[in-house]
């Protein structure tokens, strides 16, 4: 059962990554590759500050701000210097590699004894306390961690939901949806894109900060390939909820991320050949890309049957 709880925790932490990608990829329609760099940046900043003895919440918030700064740089490159969005992201991602090394001072920073958000959550339970549910049991500390993370993710998701219903949030969504229209309504799309990328990368860096605290070390290479998981989660989530409504998109991204980690856990649990791991994860992503179509067809089918008047 702790395997299940562990997968949920990991899925929830990485759902911040998915939410960040959702903002850039779906809401701003900006394919932002800064993500690989900013998740490691979040981790590096959080780890360094934790080692320096900062309060874990402050360190995590600082990591989030650092990510937002990275996103701002990408946004400025893309909108003010008119660099292609993909290229701007790659540039910043590449630069962040060195920045992260500078921040940590070395390429790997263990957090074995530092107080972190995770240890704060663990403090709610005794180290050997366990809960049993008929045949399963789980350390209470693990439950405390997953509860704390859920709370955090819930808070972030609700805040995002609220934000996207304000005048500013609406303008940001419109910037990604119809640039010409929102410009004609007096919004500077470049600024809006920059601000959105800051928000997106801030979320990603937050994921990095939590990940580092959960896994107990920061590694400069931890961001490699992360953006793919982000895309996969967003796409799985979209196909699950079958809607572009903002609230559903947010929940979908979180569910997609959790489901993705669960599938990986099941694959691992069933003891697949270690050499096939990458293939299986690629299959998941493939399924996520193909499923939306399949699910849409199924939905349509049912919709037609239940309300023949529609269409």
């Amino acid at each position: 059962m702790s395997l299940l709880v562990g997968s949920f925790t990991m899925g929830l932490i990485l759902s911040l990554l998915a939410l960040g990608v959702l903002v850039s990829f779906r809401i701003l329609a900006f394919r932002d590759l800064t993500v690989d760099g900013s998740i490691a940046l979040g981790g590096a900043v959080a780890a360094t500050l934790l080692v320096a003895g900062w309060n874990p919440w402050l360190a995590t918030a600082a990591a989030c701000l650092a990510g937002a700064l990275a996103g701002t740089v990408t946004g400025v490159l893309a909108t003010r210097f008119q660099i292609n969005g993909l290229l701007a992201g790659i540039l910043v991602m590449t630069a962040l590699y060195s920045v992260n090394l500078r921040v940590m001072g070395k390429s790997n920073l263990p957090l074995m004894k530092e107080q972190t958000i995770i240890t704060m959550a663990q403090r709610f339970a005794a180290s050997d306390a366990r809960w049993s549910f008929s045949r399963w049991e789980v350390p209470v500390q693990d439950v405390a961690i997953v509860a704390m993370i859920s709370l955090l993710i819930g808070l972030v998701a609700v805040t995002m939901y609220a934000f996207f219903r304000t005048n500013l949030g609406l303008a940001m969504r419109a910037s990604g949806d119809n640039e010409q229209m929102i410009r004609a309504l007096g919004v500077e799309v470049g600024w809006m894109t920059t601000f959105g990328l800051a928000l997106s990368n801030g979320l990603v860096a937050l994921a990095g900060a939590l990940l580092v605290q959960y896994q107990g070390f920061a590694d400069v290479q931890m961001g490699i390939g992360m953006v793919v998981w982000g895309f996969a989660s967003v796409i799985i989530g979209e196909s699950l909820v079958g809607s572009r409504q903002i609230g559903l998109l947010l929940v979908g991204a979180v569910m997609g991320s959790i489901l993705f980690r669960l599938l990986v856990a099941i694959a691992l649990r069933w003891g697949l050949n270690p050499n096939d791991l990458k293939l299986v994860t690629a299959l998941f992503v493939f399924a996520a890309l193909v499923l939306p179509g399949a699910i849409a067809i199924v939905r349509k089918h049912f919709a037609q049957r239940s309300s023949p008047l529609a269409s």
């Binding site: 990991m10 390429s107 896994q215 290479q221 856990a265 691992l268 270690p274 791991l277 990458k278």
Partner: protein, 679 residues
């Protein structure tokens, strides 16, 4: 609202479904596998059972030794655990917050006696016990008076509910012994961290002892482990005859640095903490913590049998333990000698016996205990579930895996009969690594075997109680699992080793006697590469080469960076290990060949790809060492008690074609030593 729920239903259903599958695959063994705790429950006693708590700060070997001693001492005093008393053990695992929480629990009633080991445990319990005054016996404390709990300097001057044993490091004895080994000794150097209370006490004692022995004590202070190198260098520059270390944790953490510096200056090192002789100190005089523990046990026995605590004295005793390393005598500047009397007195002696690698002194001694312990091949009491976790695929990883299997086999544990081994490889993806660990734990692994640093770190983070044996880790100290070979995380042990750059230097000298400038390429983003490079920097400095280093960040940079390196009048390239250098070696060697610069490397695969000389760490051998260690764990030893093992076995590989292409000749002597010569 209803529509929203409907839209979420598919996702929720899938998540519930996936969770159910996961739970079901997790369930079947759950019922059959409720493990008994290691201690506590024993035979049901007849008379009134006294409840005793034994609290320790962490899982360091010396504390474990002390705790074993306490239990032995209690038994000798008539209070055998399980019959006369019920003993509950507490271990804070180094976490101060936990110490305090435990102290609250211990003094909250329910225990007739609390025994604490180490100063922090004493302080925490004394603090929590101010009101309740539960009987309290303490030990493994350097100086109880200085710990601020109300114990005075007179034996009977202590609170009425509290008594214990103080154990000072035998500072004077160690200095006296040094004097005995070299009567001409006059200048002793000590590096210490003023922030450590214990270290301060030792240094004060050393000042007194030196005054008495008419020795000059030269001091250099450090703030942290990073500053040790400089401090020791300054002491050597001030021409000390001996480096002495008391109980300083910062300096001991960097013991290798001290030993290396001393070796270069051809002076010996001695310490007050047993165990460092294995790492190159001439001798260690320290407390025998098992004996200390026995004394504490005896004292606790008297309290349990009703003696009035206020009338019991606070004892201060140091049963000595001596460890001598005669190998360290070699090549010393001054005339140091270990008398037969000292040898007879010593609890353990390290000498040349069993050594098989002449190029590398002080090696076999540390290998010996690992390799010789368990030769019996009796079946184990249960079939262990072993899970091997690797981070990447590479020939070296495969060699290490084979080594692990061979090591287990040689130690007499059989696959199928004694253990089942399943292998998982994350193929370079860190998040999968995490899932692999989770999966192994859910699978009720009894022991995790890890290959590479990342695998180790992931395992350490998630596996709380499952022991871990690692291999193929260059630097477990930088990885955060250990501070010294003996002080490491309680459930973790294993074998490590990085490039033997020191051994490479003489080889370079033999092949290229006139070389002055050495070029190096390293990957600043890889922990191991940075560490290997640091070693190379030191070694090159020691061998008085000028080192020109360039960083390399991606395989595509390799040709350009190599060319620019070759353009700096270097005589050769020495490549410290990195994943990058490994994968882009063909382009590196090509660029180097154009510039007629020979390449020396540390990775086995490089020799066939055009390196002139390769001195590779034998990963099979390192794996085998870890396999042996794993077998010891399976036979019941606690990982905490097994020191980390540095693998030092090398294989020398030479490429004759590359040698000719570079216009070099390999001396016959070196050729003879080569394990493999590629034509």
């Amino acid at each position: 609202m209803w529509d929203t729920l409907k839209r979420l239903s598919l996702g929720l259903a899938l998540i519930v479904f996936a969770s159910a599958i996961l739970l079901l695959s997790d369930a079947p063994r759950r019922t059959s596998l409720t493990r008994e705790p290691d201690h506590g429950a024993g035979p049901v006693p007849l008379a009134k059972v006294m409840k005793v708590a034994l609290m320790q700060m962490a899982s360091q070997p010396i504390i474990e030794e002390g705790a074993d001693g306490v239990i032995a001492g209690l038994k000798e005093a008539g209070f055998a655990v399980g019959t006369a008393i019920q003993l509950k053990r507490f271990n804070a695992e180094g976490d101060l917050a936990t110490v305090n929480a435990m102290a609250q629990e211990l003094t909250g009633g329910g225990f007739d006696l609390v025994i604490t080991l180490t100063t922090s445990a004493l302080q925490a319990v004394a603090n929590a016990n101010q009101q309740r005054r539960v009987p309290h016996v303490f030990g493994l404390v350097t100086d109880p008076t200085q710990s601020g709990v109300g114990v005075g300097s007179e034996p009977l001057d202590h609170p009425a509910h509290m008594v214990g044993v103080g154990t000072l490091q035998p500072v004077a004895e160690s200095l006296r012994m040094a004097r005995q080994m070299n009567p001409k000794l006059t200048r002793v150097g000590v590096a210490w961290n003023p922030a450590e209370v214990n270290s301060e006490i030792c240094t004060k004692l050393a000042r007194e002892a030196c005054r008495e022995l008419k020795l000059d004590l030269l001091e250099a202070t450090v703030e942290n482990t990073a500053a040790v190198h400089e401090a020791v260098a300054s002491l050597i520059a001030r021409d000390v005859d001996l480096l002495w270390i008391g109980g300083d944790v910062s300096v001991l953490a960097a013991f290798e640095v001290v030993a290396k510096a001393a070796q270069n200056a051809r002076i010996p090192v001695c310490t007050c903490i047993p165990g460092n002789a294995k790492k190159g100190s001439l001798f260690d005089v320290g407390a025998n913590y098992f004996e200390v523990g026995r004394g504490i046990g005896h004292l606790a026995g008297r309290v349990l049998s009703g003696d009035e605590i206020a009338k019991l004295p606070v004892e201060r005793s140091t049963p000595p333990k001596l460890m001598v390393n005669t190998l360290a005598l070699k090549g010393l500047r001054d005339a140091w000698a270990v008398s037969a009397q000292v040898l007879a007195q010593a609890d353990s002696v390290i000498d040349e016996q069993g050594q098989h690698d002449k190029a590398l002194p002080a090696t076999k001694a540390s290998i010996a205990p690992v390799r010789t312990t368990n030769t019996d091949s009796a079946p184990l009491s249960k079939v262990w579930q072993l899970r091997l976790l690797a981070y990447i695929n590479s020939p070296d990883v495969e060699e290490a895996e084979q080594g692990l299997r061979d090591g287990l086999k040689n130690a007499g544990v059989m696959e199928g009969r004694d253990f089942e081994l399943k292998v998982a490889n994350a193929q370079g993806d860190m998040t999968s690594l995490h899932g692999m660990v989770e999966s192994a734990l859910a699978d009720h692994a009894d022991l995790l075997l890890t290959i590479s640093t990342q695998a180790l770190q992931s395992a350490v983070q998630r596996a709380r109680n499952t022991p871990i044996v690692f291999t193929m880790v260059a630097n477990p100290f930088a990885a955060g699992v250990a501070t010294t070979e003996t002080e490491h995380l309680a459930s973790v042990t294993g074998a490590y080793g990085s490039n033997d750059v020191d051994a490479m230097m003489p080889i370079i000298k033999q092949v290229l006697p006139n070389a002055r400038r050495v070029g190096a390429l390293y990957a600043p983003t890889e922990v191991n590469s940075v560490y290997s490079h640091e070693l190379l920097v030191k070694a090159a400095k020691g061998a008085s080469y000028e080192l020109v280093s360039l960083g390399i960040n991606s395989p595509s940079e390799a040709p350009d960076v190599t060319q620019s390196l070759c353009g700096q009048q270097i005589d050769l390239i020495c490549l410290p290990n990195s994943n990058l250098a490994g994968s882009s070696f063909p382009t590196i060697v090509q660029s180097a060949r154009k510039a007629k610069v020979p390449v020396f490397g540390f990775l086995g695969s490089m020799v066939s790809q055009g390196a002139v000389v390769v001195l590779t760490r034998d990963y099979h051998d390192m794996g085998a060492d870890s396999g042996q260690i794993a077998a010891r764990v399976m036979r019941g030893e606690k990982p905490a008690a097994i020191p980390l093992h540095q693998s030092r076995k090398n294989r020398l590989l030479i490429n004759m074609a590359a040698t000719k292409a570079a216009g070099l000749t390999i001396p016959g002597e070196l050729l003879k030593r080569a394990d493999r010569v590629v034509e």
